[in-house]
Subunit: 385 residues, 2 copies
Amino acid sequence: MQAQTATEMTPDADPADPVVPADPVVPADPTEGRRRRPRAGRPGQHPVTIAEVAARAGVSIATVSRVLTNRKPVRPETRRRVLEAVDELDYVPSGPARALAGSPTGMLGLLMTDLTQPFYTELAHAIESEAQARGYTLILANGAGDSGREAAYLDLLAQRRVDGILVASRGVTTRHIDWLRRAPVEVVLVTCEAPGVPLPAIVAASHDGAALAADHVLGLGHRRIGEIVGPAVSASSPERHAGVVEALARAGIPERDLAVVACDGDVAGGRTAAEALLARTPRPTAILCYNDLVAVGAIHAIAAAGLSCPGDVSVVGFDDIPIASMVSPALTTVAQAVGEMARWAVDRILAQIAANRGEGAIEPPEVVRKPCRLVIRGSTAAPPA
Amino acid sequence: MQAQTATEMTPDADPADPVVPADPVVPADPTEGRRRRPRAGRPGQHPVTIAEVAARAGVSIATVSRVLTNRKPVRPETRRRVLEAVDELDYVPSGPARALAGSPTGMLGLLMTDLTQPFYTELAHAIESEAQARGYTLILANGAGDSGREAAYLDLLAQRRVDGILVASRGVTTRHIDWLRRAPVEVVLVTCEAPGVPLPAIVAASHDGAALAADHVLGLGHRRIGEIVGPAVSASSPERHAGVVEALARAGIPERDLAVVACDGDVAGGRTAAEALLARTPRPTAILCYNDLVAVGAIHAIAAAGLSCPGDVSVVGFDDIPIASMVSPALTTVAQAVGEMARWAVDRILAQIAANRGEGAIEPPEVVRKPCRLVIRGSTAAPPA
DNA sequence: CGATGCTGGGTAAGCGCTTACATTCCGAGC
DNA sequence: GCTCGGAATGTAAGCGCTTACCCAGCATCG
């Protein structure tokens, strides 16, 4: 309280933004012992606690807490003294202690199936932005395609007492279902659904998106169409397939005229699948792909077969990942509204969390299907004469 | 303890993997009140505490803690009872409480400059894997290129009481330096250095890597070489440039014969820069790029100019991101050892954390330079005759 | 002029753990 | 038979916060 005098005598600086003299590496003036930071805060050290701040400011710890949490009125003068002490001591409140005392942790868990997939990378980034914009921190949990690992991560997130979990798993398995049903925290699904569990979810309208792609090539005049579907674990793959079949049917093309090959959702798989498709007679003039990576593989296969894309064969991807616009020809693809899905998911989970604390009503779980958008680039054209 | 009787009377199931009847949404048998989980654990609920587990197992909370932390000997029979209670109650220990009581949080912060850059995405993924393999959870902190935001995130990570922070910022600014100098937790730098702050760091040997690229095109016979350097904020850009200059000098080519253009590190920037380079007379026959995205842009520019890559102009990228092998021609590029850098960084920070707790010696901070590897693909060839 | 209401701030009770220290229970050694 | 020692367990003291509750001080009002 004695050190504070100096500051009180110079009420020039705005208390909200106290200018702390940049403590030089070597103390400039050894006699000036008052204003040195008592604890340098190096790793080993015991961190500054609220009690030390209170002592320094000459108030009780309750008052410090009130200033920091901004929940109760505090006299401006008192507030100033507290903030000053906070600043002088480099005080950083302990998240764990706060959480234990009843505050929310301000952390959200993000469980992903496979961070190596560019689409999920984009989604993760979008969610991180949204979460950060709302003052929440993300814990990254990457299952790497292993559903056992995902289950373990769910437990871990619960242990960390995250306020909510966003699940962006490609395939929600029974292992998840059981956990999610009795989840101890709020859960919102992104890009996936958990059949039978009443959880809010947002997914792309894959069915209609795939139909968009099919309609596009049909409109260009293609009649012999091939489709490369995704792996069995993917929940959206059958949906997309159904959309394609339906669009073809509307154009009077029976399902048996659609050449279908399955593959893993990567470039190599796409290439192999496309090779199989190109070997068929009659050869398809357009290939609709499960995702953009597969489409890139298809383009490689077309080039390797001595054919031209889009001259001989058109290709349509799905997702519109950054790579889509970089390859040549640039991919015509179906874009998912990643940003909007991320925003919805974060908004929704925060609403649930708030509702849980008694603020706001609990809305019934719902599944939102976000429409997709066709992005036409260079990989599609009219079929060869 | 009375509820437990049912279980004790039927010692058929392995206590390690008890088959819990899938609690139906509507209780099937209202009379069967014994074996139902006392707390469903739905979001609102107060979570199960160690005291409840202790009561159920008929032991003190200390014993439960000992079983769970595995730090003190416990009689096998007692351990069994405790684990059984844990399982029956769906007990999940509280991370915050543990942290407050002195345990490490098991969390690591990962501060990145820009998650949208594919290279950083890869790095983040690699670090996540390493951290997870060692039982640590990652908190994602994406600065999105804004150094103010990064600084705010550093405070936030400190508040969360992470055990350590990995900084993978492209440019460590003075704002960081000041914070890092008095960081309250362990910090290891990945892919960057903080001049003047004694912190361990691992970076790619950019200088030598760039020289590798230059030597490669020189070996192919190129003499008129262009270079697209990165943005000013990038610390590695000048290093790479120096490597190129040095390699050229060894081959007897003076620095003034090297055509240099700067750009932002993305596709559009690379394209613009390459256009400028291609407009020069004499036109360079090889372009060394700051990174793979820039190289992709350069390839686009070459195609747009009616030239062929590698026929007329060779292109070399840097980083070997996944995209590099997908474009055509596939990119010749300099690969950074992302996985190894991630492993080293995580190993190192865990070592520091252990040392802090008195286990193991504190090694002096060091800067490791990981060699790069040249990956030759289709974008480089001998210069036109 | 004393009762009343209100406001800012202090006191202390937890939050759910870990762990130092105390206690109990044994068998071994005298 | 009694003490001693060690292993297993219980007891309780925090860890750093938030917050319910209480109290002092002051202005207002009858």
